[in-house]
Symmetry: C2
Subunit: 277 residues, 2 copies
């Protein structure tokens, strides 16, 4: 692991790191914030998965999570959203596929299967690195994210209910197998057989029996992607049928940006801290 930068912030250390990822067969960059309480012992880990077009940096710059994470004593880990590099296949002009759009799946189709393995990366390789290199208590993990990263957080929580104690999302894509901006990516990463897509679709996972203790979702009502791509009511319905407690806050006037995310960041950090600290 290579340290790219560190800055003291709100008493803790905001770092950016890179490493040669075996899973993604390329160098991967990620951000970690470690509150100063880590000097007294390992701290819970909260994973933040970012949305389409983002890197580790967007939430680090604009998420406004450090002040309260420092107070609550939460390590916040922010991975990149895809493999990157000259050798990684990409569609340069397509923001919904390739670089910045890994969708937290393990691709099975050529030529993507070699690098686009973000599911394994964020559930196996990166957690092992975090456990090894940071003062992290891996028995206390939570996960959240935004948009495509909200999809990542919900699906990963549903597939690892024993690992994560808490899960939430800002404006998540809840049914990527039917949304216009994710369906073409699923086709290219996972192939034409749509049954394989269900393992990466929060609604389908719940329909197929996956369970998690409870979810919190915040969604802006002025979000331009609400009706076409996000549709949190589909997941609300699936959770309702499955008996999974589900808090959906529809926020009047808020859009899809980090201005929305940062506004409700504290609510989500407190939600996770109640279950982790």
């Amino acid at each position: 692991m290579k340290t790219l930068s560190t800055s003291l912030s709100h008493g803790g250390l905001q770092g950016v790191y890179s490493h040669a990822s075996e899973t993604c067969a390329c160098d991967m960059t990620f951000a970690v914030f470690v509150p100063q309480q880590a000097a007294q012992g390992p701290l819970p880990v909260l994973w933040y998965l970012s949305g389409l077009t983002c890197t580790h940096q967007n939430v680090m710059d604009k998420g406004e999570y450090r002040q309260l994470a420092a107070e609550l004593g939460l390590i916040v880990v922010c991975p990149d959203t895809s493999p990157r590099g000259e050798a990684v296949p990409d569609e340069k002009d397509n923001w919904q596929f390739g670089a910045g759009a890994g969708f937290y799946v393990d691709a099975t189709e050529a030529p993507y299967a070699r690098n686009y393995r973000m599911y394994s990366y964020v559930t196996q390789e990166l957690p092992a690195l975090i456990a090894r290199e940071f003062p992290a208590d891996m028995e206390r993990q939570g996960i959240f994210g935004h948009s495509m990263g909200g999809h990542g957080a919900l699906t990963i929580a549903l597939k690892h209910p024993d690992r994560f104690r808490s899960a939430s999302a800002f404006a998540p894509i809840v049914q990527p197998s039917t949304a216009g901006w994710s369906k073409p990516a699923f086709q290219k990463y996972l192939g034409e057989d749509e049954t394989a897509w269900r393992a990466y679709d929060a609604c389908a996972l719940v329909e197929d029996g996956a369970r998690f203790p409870e979810f919190l979702i915040d969604q802006g009502k002025a979000d331009g992607f609400l009706d076409d791509g996000l549709r949190p009511w589909l997941f609300e319905d699936a959770c309702h049928k499955a008996g999974i407690p589900f808090s959906l806050n529809m926020r009047e006037g808020y859009d899809h940006s980090y201005f929305f995310i940062s506004t409700f960041m504290d609510d989500h950090l407190r939600w996770h801290a109640q279950r982790l600290v």
Copy 2:
């Protein structure tokens, strides 16, 4: 005035606007945050001046000011740091001069005097526009900034003690007429006669009799520009000799970045609110 974007954030409206500036003879962009309390009547205005290489956007993205400004009821105005455009003379490879480096002076030298009039822009043209277009109580104004923008805030406050009730700075350039990164710019904007520079130098202004009720400065001790460019002790000394109350917080471990600024943003907002609200 043209609205480039607006987003609801922390209950208020974060907007980005542009207008054809007569003063700078080019289009200028700026950001304004208006808390929701503006519905009940005009609110105090806090000016934030940014540092070298920045636009209006850096502090808007990374300053973490909205949550508390929304609570305290402060309008926050963030101007750009220089004129910009094809017709504006610039030195593309020089981050300490030209675009992003207006130094809040009115240039007197050709070819810069036509556009580089950031002092008049932020003290006259933009305030008039803010007063006209926003629910701003111009009887209650404060000013702060970072680095080159800290220099701007200190000098403008010292030259307008009747207009501003509060002034503070993060890691300000306090004596630009002798610092390596500002002296060449002063030469090009203001000419070789260094007596003309004193009107834009916080230390010289105090030495020459300018006064302001009190200042707050936060400065990171791990700031790489501390000894060469910033040197807050020079201003502390000038204020001490002049009997101007001066709070200088030297912050162990903090650097020059927005990770530092955002950490102490709340302290500064409260400082201004105590004098404005």
